[in-house]
Point group: C2
Chain length 343, copies 2
C-alpha cells in the first residue's frame, strides 16, 4: 500500500489498514481513465475505498488528451496520498482515427474545469498503459479487477498484446454505453464508446466477465449544489479541489437538467467495481457495438428483448456478452459524498 | 358511408350516424396495412370508431404477403359492414429487397392465426395502393389522415408519385419503431421499420406531420385471456372471429410475457389516429432511420436527449422530425374491448 504522505489522507489509509487488520484480502484493481472531472471523483472513490489495492492507472485520450489526463491523474493521486501508484501513458489516438480534442466544453480544456491542481513531483512510469495492464493481469492472474472509465483503446491494445487477457482478469467494469437511455454525444451513443467504437467492439467480443455501467444508471445518480457546497465546506485540500473542479461540470449539466448539478458516471462505475454498489437490475445479455459509419455509430446494442419476462434466456459469460446495468437503487450521491468527506 | 349489409353491424353504423347527426364532421382516413392479427383489431377499431370515414385501405407485405393481407382486409371489412371501402393491393416486395415470407410464427401463414375468415364477394380495386393514397390525399387535401400499420413501402412509393404528399396529408400516424424500448425483430429494430428501412427513412425525411406509435407504448397495452374470452362470449360473428384469431397470437406472446396475452400494436396506433387516445408523452424530436447493413439496421433513432429536462428544444414539424410516443396512460385494452363489443 502507498505511504501516508500527510494528515489529510489518514482516514483513507486507516480505512485500508482496518480492512487489512481484519484479514480481508485487498482487491487488486487496475484503472484506465481519461481524467476528466468525473474521473477525478472516481479516483477519489478508489483512494477512499477500503480493501482496494490500486496497482496501476492507465491514461487514454477521451475527455482530454491522454498526456493531459495522465498529468491530472498523477497530481490527484499525490493529493490523495497515493503517490506510489504507477501511472502509465497510453493511446493518444484511437484505433482507427485520431483524437480530435475531447470534450473541453464538459471538462474544461485542462480536464479539471479550469482549476489548476497542485503539481506533484511524481512522473509517468515509462511503460505503455496497455503493457502495464497486461503485466498487472499476469501478476494478479485470476484476481485483477479492471475498471475502464474512458474510451477502451488501451484495453483493446492490451488484447493485441495478450489475447488471453479475459481469462486473466477477474472482472472488467466499464463506464460506457446507453442501452435504453438516450446517448449523450449522439441520440444513441455515449461518449466513451463513441470515441473508439472499434476498440469497444473488440473488448465486448473478447469474452471478459464484463459489467457495463452506462447512461441508463449514471444519468439517475447525481450530485446537486448542496453536495458541492459540502465538499467546499469540508475544506481539506482534496475536498476543496473536487468542489472547485465540479463547478465547470455543473454548468454543462445545467443544460441537461435545468439546474447546476452533475451526473456521476465514473464514480458510479468505480463503486460497482469495488463492490460497494450492486445494481438491482443488470441482466447478462448479448451486446454488440455499432462500429459502422451510420447513424448508430458508437451505440452499445444490448439485446434486452427478455425485459418483459425477467430475462429468462440470459447467456453465460462469453464473447459478445455483458451484464448491462439498468437499475441502481438508492442515492449514490449521498454515499459518494460521505466517502469523499473522509478524504 | 357504406351500406348496412346485415344486423351484426347495426351498432357500428349507428355510432357513425349518431356522430353525423350531431353534425360532427367525419374524418377521412386512409389505412395502409399488412393484415395480420393486430391489423384485424385495428380495422375493427376503425369500423367501430364514430366519425371516421375510411376512404380506402392499401395492402403491403409485412406480416404476410400483400395479396394475402389484402384478401384478409376485404373479408374483414365485409364482416364489419364496410364492403364498399375500396381495398388496394400495393407493394409485394420492399424498396431494395424482396419480401421473404413475413412472420407466420406470429400471425399464422394466413395472417389470421389459422382461422379462416368468411370469404366476401368483394374484390380489389385494381388501383395500386400508392396511387390510391395519392388520389385520396388530393381528394381530401389538407384533411386526410393516414394510418400506416405495416412496412412503409406503399407510403414511400406514394411519395415518388407525388412528393407534395406531406403537404396534402393532415397527419400520418405510423405503428413502428422502438425509441427507448427494445426492438422485437432485432435488439433495436421493430418489425415494420426493419422490413423496409429505406422506405421508413424516406417517409421520415419527407416532412409529414408524423406521429410514431412504437414499442415504447404498444408493449405496455395488452389484451389478456379475459379480454379474449369476453370477445368469444359476446358471440357476434365479428367478435367470435377476433377472439379465435387472437389465440395463435397469444401463444407467440406467451414467450415474451410468460402467459398467453397480446400486445396491442396496431389498434393502439389506430386509436391515436382517430383521436380517441392521446399519448401523455410524445415529444416532437429529430428522427432518423438506420438503413445501413450494420447491427442497428431498421432502428428508428429518435433524439431523446432532452428527456431529462422536458424536451426544451423540440423542433417544428419538418423533414426528419416526428412526435414519438413514449407514454400512454390508462388501460387501452379495456377501451378496445368495450369498442369491439359494439360490433
Amino acid at each position: 500500500m502507498p505511504e501516508v504522505p500527510d494528515a489529510q489522507t489518514v482516514q483513507t489509509t486507516q480505512s485500508v489498514q482496518t480492512t487489512q487488520n481484519t484479514e480481508t484480502r485487498s482487491v487488486p484493481l487496475f484503472l484506465d481513465c481519461d481524467t476528466g472531472v468525473d474521473d477525478a471523483l472516481a479516483i477519489a472513490w478508489l483512494a477512499a475505498a477500503p480493501g482496494v489495492d490500486l496497482v496501476g492507472v492507465g491514461a487514454v485520450s477521451g475527455n482530454i488528451a491522454a498526456a493531459t489526463g495522465a498529468r491530472n491523474t498523477l497530481d490527484l493521486l499525490a493529493m490523495l496520498g497515493l503517490p506510489d501508484v504507477p501511472v502509465h501513458l497510453g493511446a493518444h489516438d484511437f484505433l482507427d482515427h485520431p483524437f480530435t480534442g475531447g470534450a473541453p466544453h464538459v471538462h474544461g480544456a485542462d480536464g479539471t474545469g479550469g482549476v489548476p491542481l497542485p503539481r506533484a513531483a511524481t512522473e509517468l512510469s515509462g511503460v505503455h498503459a496497455a503493457q502495464a495492464l497486461v503485466d498487472a493481469a499476469h501478476e494478479h492472474a485470476g484476481e485483477l479487477r479492471v475498471l475502464a472509465i474512458g474510451p477502451l483503446t488501451n484495453v483493446a491494445l492490451a488484447l493485441e498484446i495478450d489475447p488471453d487477457l479475459p481469462r486473466l482478469v477477474r472482472e472488467l467494469t466499464i463506464m460506457g454505453g446507453a442501452a435504453m437511455a438516450p446517448g449523450n454525444v449522439t441520440p444513441v451513443a455515449e461518449a466513451n464508446i463513441h470515441n473508439d467504437p472499434l476498440a469497444a467492439a473488440r473488448v465486448v467480443e473478447a469474452g471478459f466477465d464484463l459489467m457495463v455501467i452506462g447512461l441508463d444508471v449514471t444519468m439517475h445518480q447525481r450530485f446537486e449544489e448542496e453536495h458541492r457546497q459540502a465538499l467546499l465546506a469540508a475544506g481539506t485540500p482534496v475536498t476543496r479541489v473536487l468542489g472547485e473542479v465540479l463547478e465547470f461540470y455543473y454548468a454543462f449539466y445545467a443544460q441537461r437538467f435545468g439546474r447546476p448539478c452533475s451526473v456521476l458516471h465514473d464514480p458510479l462505475a468505480a463503486a460497482v467495481a469495488t463492490g460497494d454498489v450492486v445494481p438491482s437490475l443488470a441482466p447478462r445479455v448479448p451486446v454488440v457495438v455499432d462500429s459502422t459509419e451510420g447513424p448508430g455509430r458508437g451505440q452499445t446494442i444490448a439485446d434486452l428483448r427478455g425485459l418483459y419476462h425477467g430475462f429468462p434466456d440470459s447467456p453465460p459469460v462469453g464473447p459478445g456478452v455483458a451484464r448491462v446495468a439498468l437499475e441502481i437503487d438508492g442515492d449514490f450521491g449521498a454515499v459518494l459524498l460521505e466517502r469523499l468527506l473522509t478524504l
